[in-house]
């Protein structure tokens, strides 16, 4: 039964890939920053529809200000994607992005940053990172 969910996990990855590519193509039509606007407008409309249709969780207490910053970060992510996808292609852009994610993730875990539980860096993972690095270089070489 879990296999359905694992397949869905791959499908979600596929959707992410399509999303960033479509956004990159849109930016070719509408301009890099204007497309960020369009993307957010469409997303906002979509989530409003979902919120109207789905049962809501009650808001619990005050919301600390820093929790609003994700929106700003998201703007940068979208903008950088729009810049990089047309130049580097989808695969290389995503590969670099994933490498960046993995790096920060192990740093956050090792030092227990941002309220995460401290998980010491497993030195074995250096091998994995080396393989990733080789893969990234291979993408640039030929």
């Amino acid at each position: 039964m879990v296999i359905i969910y694992k397949t869905s996990a791959i499908a979600i990855g596929a959707l992410i890939s399509v999303m960033v590519t479509v956004n990159g193509i849109l930016s070719g039509f509408a301009g890099v920053w204007f497309s960020v606007l369009v993307i957010h407008a469409v997303g906002l409309a979509a989530v409003l529809i979902v919120i109207l249709a789905v049962k809501r969780k009650k808001v619990a207490g005050k919301i600390p200000l820093y929790l609003f910053s994700a929106g700003a970060i998201g703007v940068l992510v979208t903008y950088f994607n729009n810049v990089c996808i047309p130049e580097l292609g989808t695969t290389f852009t995503l590969a670099l992005c994933l490498a960046g994610q993995s790096l920060l993730a192990v740093l956050i875990d090792h030092f227990g940053l941002l309220g995460m539980k401290r998980v010491r860096f497993n030195k074995k993972k250096i091998i994995g990172f080396l393989l990733v690095a080789v893969g990234l270089v291979a993408m640039t070489l030929f």
């Binding site: 879990v2 993307i39 950088f80 989808t90 993995s102 993730a105 995460m116 291979a138």
Partner: protein, 166 residues
Amino acid sequence: MLDVVLAFVTGWFVILSSIINANLSQKIGVFKGVLVNYIVGLGITLAILVVTGVSFRAGIAGLPGIPVWAFSGGLIGVVVVASSNVVVPKVPAVYMTLLSYIGQLGTGIFLDYARTGTAPLGRIIGVLFIVAGMVYNSMADKETVSNDSSDNVIHPPSCSRLPPRL
């Protein structure tokens, strides 16, 4: 070269926003969290467009000429969040990131081929190496971190059970 650095740094922002979004959605729910994200993002983007003097009239005038499917990115983002909401709790932590990455990179090959008509050997080999590296590290993670998929706690980012990017 700058693009390479930008793409790499984008990964950091993805992780950061994932963590913040996870905290936000714990307080107000997943979709309200997305709503807040898009509202804040929209506001900031408007401000940037105004400050940099981008012509809204020209931008809007150009919209009808764009194929409809090119607008679907924002919608797909919401679909990703909604499906992650269902899938992430059901998939062991160690697999979620790995499977998502495989989906992203594999699809990337096809999309690049569709867009450019080429599938360079270097890109395919590169993806294989990257996946191999990720699989290896996932196995290493299996040894050290709890795999309990029924756990509601936010897991370490390196196993990333956090909702993938928006």
